[in-house]
């Protein structure tokens, strides 16, 4: 079968799985739903592999295929089809998405076991994977927007999965609204593209763009900036990032899949896909790179003081995506995509491990209350350590190769881009510090009460009354709230398998792209990016290894600093906090972004709404326009009524008057 046929199957399986689980939720047991869900994604992964094999069997320059099912709209010059585009970039993304999703489905099979909404969860999760694949495989901008919107919806549905928790529903709404802002940017960009190039189709757009646009003309810059609005909202970059930490209200597998590995990387994919346009608008590309850099640093700084385990990992995600955005914006396309892949592995793993620990803590997420889990949960802590090492770019882990490749490219590009290298290394230092802050605080030390309970009894602690970890409100365990049981990796084989595979990948997946040895990712993605002049800039092997050396040293240094702060002299953090309390508060409050958005956007919007309701609606519309018209018509009606007095003679008078008038008219006409 052709590569595009496999592509359609990749789309079909998750959709079918989602619909099947949804329709049969009353008749199937939870086990069936979980198996269907996981199998659907697994089959999609297999189809992805087969598509890959098909592609590899072809000549590199012809490894792009478009296939369309039917023409959705054909009006004048507007042709929109339901079409997919299979090329190395989309197959790469398909493999990452389906691969990690299969493992996360496997994890959820065990983790969500006692939840009353189990079927709903798997249905939504499958739908999400379908939407993400649609986004990635889309062959024209319209289908991209469709996939984009579906992904936003799936994210909303999954964040508010425990829908009876107000914090969760609010977080879902926040995520959705900010996503919509991004959707607007993306849609406007698509409109502009259509207006300028008269087509939505990728192949045509990318062929016509270099001929139609001059470099840095305002149209292509506007298009790219609007695309960036969409990308930043989806990938949680400044200033559209405020939804991601709140999105941690969703169940851990959701955070792992959507907000670490897949959905938030959609922005990176978008920029990589439309790199032709960004090459024509270097200013926009530079803006993107700087925003990525800023996000990188801001998020890393906040993660240093975050006390909620999942939120700290969320900020770490934000920071790493900043790296990816920097990568694809400055031209290190394959490096950025490589980092996307490795990040998917180790971040998903970190979230899974965090989920396991939070289960052991009876849904408590504050790391101030955790310690000593290294002794209580060996498997979880080992895998968590693997993930942390990869995140901190410890030498020879996957993160090591991928992150430093981006920074090496930046230095190879030279000039202004050295800023990225320097600040990128600083960010790597911060990354190592905050990562191992978490490791040392949660895993080391004397076991906290819950850990001790686990060691002593072998059972997980259960709270007397389930409470909302953020607000402390008492809940129950019925539909719409988390289930009664808490599952940890040690006691759940599916979770163990998933985490084990990811741990392996996190440690060793980097070896497919070692500088000077092999360049599997670059070679594979080369046909896609060959048309960009930036792709030809390659750091020499020596320069790459120098970069890797520096990166390794920084990573070890960061781990060392973290060790000093949290193991060797534990009072130091407290003293630092007291000394720099203003800065600490600033960082703790997430640089006051939420408050700023509230003042700048939310309150004016509410004020406008109130004004519209109280003043405009009441006085202008009700009184003046509706009331006024009403009065005028009423008065006119009264006047007309006066003529209908029921007396025939009056009617006769009007008759004669009319005849006189008509005769006068005709007389005047004649003369």
């Amino acid at each position: 079968m052709s590569a595009t046929a496999w592509g359609w199957l990749v789309l079909l399986f998750p959709l079918a799985g989602s619909i099947l689980i949804a329709l049969s939720f009353r008749k199937t047991s939870w086990r069936t739903a979980g198996i269907i869900g996981t199998a659907a994604i697994g089959l999609a992964f297999v189809c992805g592999i087969l598509a890959l094999i098909k592609l590899l069997g072809e000549d590199p320059s012809s490894r792009h295929h478009a296939s369309s099912l039917w023409e959705y709209a054909s009006v004048a010059s507007l042709h929109i089809e339901l079409g997919i585009y299979v090329d190395p970039l989309s197959v790469f993304m398909v493999l990452v998405v389906t691969g990690v999703s299969t493992l996360i489905h496997l994890y959820s099979f065990g983790y969500m076991q006692s939840d009353q909404g189990y079927h709903r969860f798997f249905s939504y999760l499958n739908f999400f994977v379908f939407s993400m694949l649609l986004l990635v495989l889309a062959g024209n901008f319209v289908l991209l927007i469709v996939g984009w919107a579906f992904v936003g919806f799936a994210s909303y549905a999954l964040i508010s999965f425990w829908y009876r928790r107000t914090t969760a529903t609010r977080a879902g709404l926040k995520a959705f609204v900010i996503n919509v802002v991004g959707d607007i940017g993306l849609t406007l960009a698509a409109f502009l593209i259509f207006q300028q190039l008269h087509t939505f189709n990728y192949t045509e757009v990318f062929a016509k763009a270099p001929e139609t646009f001059h470099t840095n003309s305002w149209t292509v810059t506007a298009i790219c900036l609007l695309l960036l609005v969409g990308a930043f909202a989806k990938s949680a970059q400044l200033p559209f990032h405020t939804w991601l930490p709140d999105a941690m209200e969703g169940p851990t597998p959701v955070s792992s899949l959507i907000h670490a590995a897949t959905m938030v990387t959609a922005g990176v994919y978008l920029i990589a896909r439309t790199h032709v346009l960004f090459v024509l608008a270097p200013t926009a590309a530079d803006i993107a790179a700087f925003v990525g850099l800023a996000t990188l640093l801001v998020a890393a700084s906040i993660a240093l003081v975050m006390t909620d385990l999942k939120r700290a990992i969320a900020y770490s995600t934000m920071s790493q995506i900043g790296y990816m955005i920097v990568g694809v914006s400055i031209g290190a396309y394959s490096a950025g995509m490589f980092h996307l892949m490795t990040h998917a592995f180790f971040k998903a793993l970190l979230f899974m491990a965090a989920g396991s620990i939070i289960s052991a803590m009876a849904n408590e997420q504050n790391i101030d209350k955790m310690s000593g889990f290294g002794k209580a949960m060996k498997f979880t802590s080992v895998t968590m350590l693997c993930g942390a090492l990869a995140l901190a770019a410890f030498p020879f882990t996957s993160g090591f190769f991928s992150k430093d490749e981006i920074l090496a490219y930046a230095s190879a590009r030279g000039g202004m881009y050295l800023i990225f290298t320097i600040l990128g290394y600083f960010g790597a230092l911060l990354t190592a510090i905050y990562t191992f802050r978490l490791i040392f605080r949660v895993l080391r030390g004397d076991p906290c009460a819950e850990a001790q309970h686990l060691i002593d009894t072998g059972h997980v602690v259960h709270a007397h009354e389930p409470t909302n970890p953020k607000t402390g409100e008492v809940e129950d365990t019925d539909v719409g709230f988390p289930g009664a049981d808490h599952h940890i990796a040690e006691q759940s084989p599916p979770m163990k398998v998933a985490m084990g595979i990811l741990a392996f990948l996190a440690l060793f997946a980097g070896f497919i792209q070692v500088p000077g040895v092999d360049k599997a990712v670059t070679n594979f993605l080369n046909p896609v990016f060959a048309d960009s002049p930036l792709a030809s800039i390659e750091p020499s092997t020596t320069a790459s290894w120098v970069g890797l050396l520096i990166g390794g040293l920084i990573s070890v240094a960061g781990i060392g600093i973290a060790y000093y702060l949290y193991v060797a002299s534990p009072e130091t953090p407290r003293r630092l906090q007291e000394r720099f309390s203003a800065m600490h508060t600033f960082l703790y409050n997430k640089w006051y972004f939420d408050e700023a958005i509230d003042i700048l956007i939310v309150r004016p919007a509410l004020a406008i709404g109130r004004f519209a309701n109280n003043v405009f609606e009441r006085f202008v519309i009700d009184d003046a326009i509706t009331g006024g018209t009403e009065e005028v018509v009423g008065k006119a009606g009264q006047v007309v009524r006066g003529f209908q007095n029921g007396i025939v003679r009056t009617y006769g008078l009007f008759l004669i008057a009319g005849a006189v008038g008509l005769a006068l008219y005709f007389l005047i006409q004649q003369s």
């Binding site: 209908q644 007095n645 029921g646 025939v648």
Partner: protein, 99 residues
């Protein structure tokens, strides 16, 4: 006397009839004034028939007479019916068409 005299006379009779309809309140008299107007029309018809030299206008006038007769019959029947019900025989009092 050329034809236009007859026509002008017809117009005069017509307007007198119109005034009568608009001013009088007894249905009887209104019907009579209606007859005036009809006859004025007849006069005009016959005058034009003479002007054209064709007798068709006269036939038209005859038919008008027939119609006038029928209308008189029905109108008088109405008046008799109103009278029988002891309602006031005054067009201004009969105003249930009031809007």
């Amino acid at each position: 006397m050329n034809i236009s005299w007859y026509i002008v006379l017809s117009a005069l009779l017509f307007t007198i009839g119109a005034i009568g309809i608009l001013v009088r309140r007894s249905p009887m008299v209104i019907l009579l004034c209606l007859e005036l107007m009809l006859n004025a029309g007849n006069l005009a018809l016959v005058a034009f028939s003479r002007e054209v030299g064709n007798a068709q206008g006269q036939v038209f006038a005859l038919v008008v007479m027939v119609v006038a007769a029928c209308e008189v019959v029905v109108g008088l029947g109405l008046i008799v019916a109103i009278f029988r019900r002891k309602l006031p025989l005054d067009v201004d009092d009969l105003r249930s068409l009031r809007g």
